[in-house]
Symmetry: C2
């Protein structure tokens, strides 16, 4: 797909004050894309501000060392938007992903430009909607924009884009990894990016509590159907005792997904008294989206989720019994 970047070129030439935003719960594809675009516009001597509808995670702070990205403050939405004539929306194309920033932005008169790689956009999100779901990351699109506009790919921009791309491709290991992403990675490394350092900053930033939590959670490791079905669980008590929170369990399910022979795996997380959030992963042999939907959840074929009311033991009983009939 060849993207026509000319509407953006024109908007940049015509604009005076730019605002850049991204989705709630941003990761390094969101933050890296925002920062790279901001640095590019600043290089053109434009005035740029960045706003995020939710807090920047610790692992992304290195991309914005001076703390230029401000947290969206609804009470100051008017002032923020009055000062902007162009708003860039990157790495999302659904109003719902903008959180509390969605309504003020809809009402604003600023010109909206969206650059995204997700499916099923809200068509009214922007007057200029550049969308390419085949791009592995929003950072791929920002890279191509900057190249198309003959921008200066500075070290800061290169690092931000590299962080964006390795985040969404899992360091070039997910199914969205393509020659386009790898080739851009090569170009960014040639411009001075140190892959191991960016990887460490993005991925190796685990909290002590997360490592502490491995022992109790993996004590619960269970299996069925000759090991084709595997699960782990976490109670609120485990989190309290280790000082961990829900986010500290990111990646735990991947450790059972990687077991030889496992076709479907499940992580049961006690979210509240009598409420269990259930994450499902499949190697493709079972459609976990369909299973999750049958219990009121949703997701994708290989990754889905649902919520069960009851204790962790009750949730395990219910979900595993259902999956056992599918995994045979």
């Amino acid at each position: 797909m060849t993207i026509d970047w000319s509407p953006i070129r024109e908007a940049i030439e015509e604009g005076r004050n730019f605002l850049i935003t991204s989705h709630v719960n941003p990761e390094a594809d969101a933050i890296g894309s925002m920062v790279a675009l901001a640095r590019f516009l600043q290089g053109l001597s434009q005035s740029v501000r960045m706003v995020s509808p939710s807090a920047i995670p610790e692992s992304c702070r290195f991309l914005d060392p001076a703390g230029e990205i401000v947290l969206f403050d609804p009470s100051r939405a008017d002032a923020l938007l009055r000062a902007a004539d162009v708003v860039f929306i990157v790495d999302l194309s659904c109003w719902s992903q903008l959180g509390s920033f969605a309504d003020p932005l809809k009402e604003s008169s600023a010109r909206r430009i969206c650059i995204d790689h997700h499916q099923d956009p809200d068509e009214d999100i922007a007057s200029v909607l550049i969308r390419d779901p085949s791009a592995a990351a929003a950072g791929v699109l920002i890279y191509e924009l900057i190249r198309d506009l003959d921008g200066d790919m500075t070290p800061a921009i290169a690092e931000a884009l590299y962080a964006a791309i390795i985040t969404d491709t899992g360091s070039f290991r997910f199914a969205n990894t393509d020659a386009r992403a790898l080739r851009i990675g090569a170009d960014l490394v040639e411009r001075g990016v140190r892959p191991e350092l960016v990887y460490q900053k993005v991925f190796e930033n685990r909290k002590w509590a997360s490592a502490k939590l491995l022992a109790p959670v993996f004590t619960t490791l269970g299996k069925s159907v000759n090991g084709k079905l595997a699960w782990i669980s976490a109670t609120r008590k485990m989190l309290t005792e280790t000082g961990a929170n829900q986010g500290d369990m990111d990646g735990f399910i991947d450790q059972i997904r990687a077991i030889r022979g496992v076709e479907v795996c499940v992580f049961f997380k006690e979210a509240d008294e009598g409420v269990v959030r259930v994450s499902l992963r499949s190697n493709g042999s079972v459609d976990v989206q369909r299973f999750a939907q049958s219990l009121g959840g949703g997701g994708h074929t290989r990754a889905a989720g649902l919520t069960v009311e009851g204790t962790v033991e009750e949730a395990i009983g219910k979900v595993i019994a259902g999956l056992e009939s599918l995994v045979r």
Copy 2:
């Protein structure tokens, strides 16, 4: 560095019967490089055999589905070597890395060709020694050889080389990742390699026992010096109870290395009664090679190892006390 491949071109033109070998304890860079080179030579209608000085790990079987790589059998060394006029030695350049195959090979009259990316070769390993330590993997060199000789980069060759490269670069995340490796990766993906499938085969092939072992091992998680120093340990009892072996603990130390603030981490493994093998990792602030050497071990600045006589508790006491004075 531009490599002159003409000696290999000539050897291939002159040779009749080729034998390919690699190092002891082969991983997918060794196996993938052997298989890719074998397929390339077979495509030129050459007779090729592959021999390994030690067993092929389960995770590499997909690269040799028909089991063409034979395990070196010292009692049949004469017959094996008499039938070969050219022996390719790939992904190693030290005699010691050939195990029991080293001596018979030294005595053989077959022409030896070595293609490697390691430092400090034994210069007498081969009459043609192609060595480039800047190459991220031996697979990078085999790729360049095949391209230079206008070989047909078949799907089987592309997959073998992709597996080789992601093995040695940790899916493009280690410090050896460069634009050259990423660009070759892009080319191989363009030729049909599916990155997520190769990744799964190479890296997501964990034994059930390895996942079981996480709980007892992470129960031992300890820290010192405000969390700059962290360690875990494994006893033989843990391995017996979970059915795991030493190899099933690969990657465990990376899970503590990835903790925010950890500068040096240590994994104590009871190898035998009164014998503890100690693995050390550093973020670079402490030279663990020097520390390991002071206790009779060795390695690199950021990854080293040593052996301590005594119980696991005694090893922890000794090693941690020594490191505490360095990590401050």
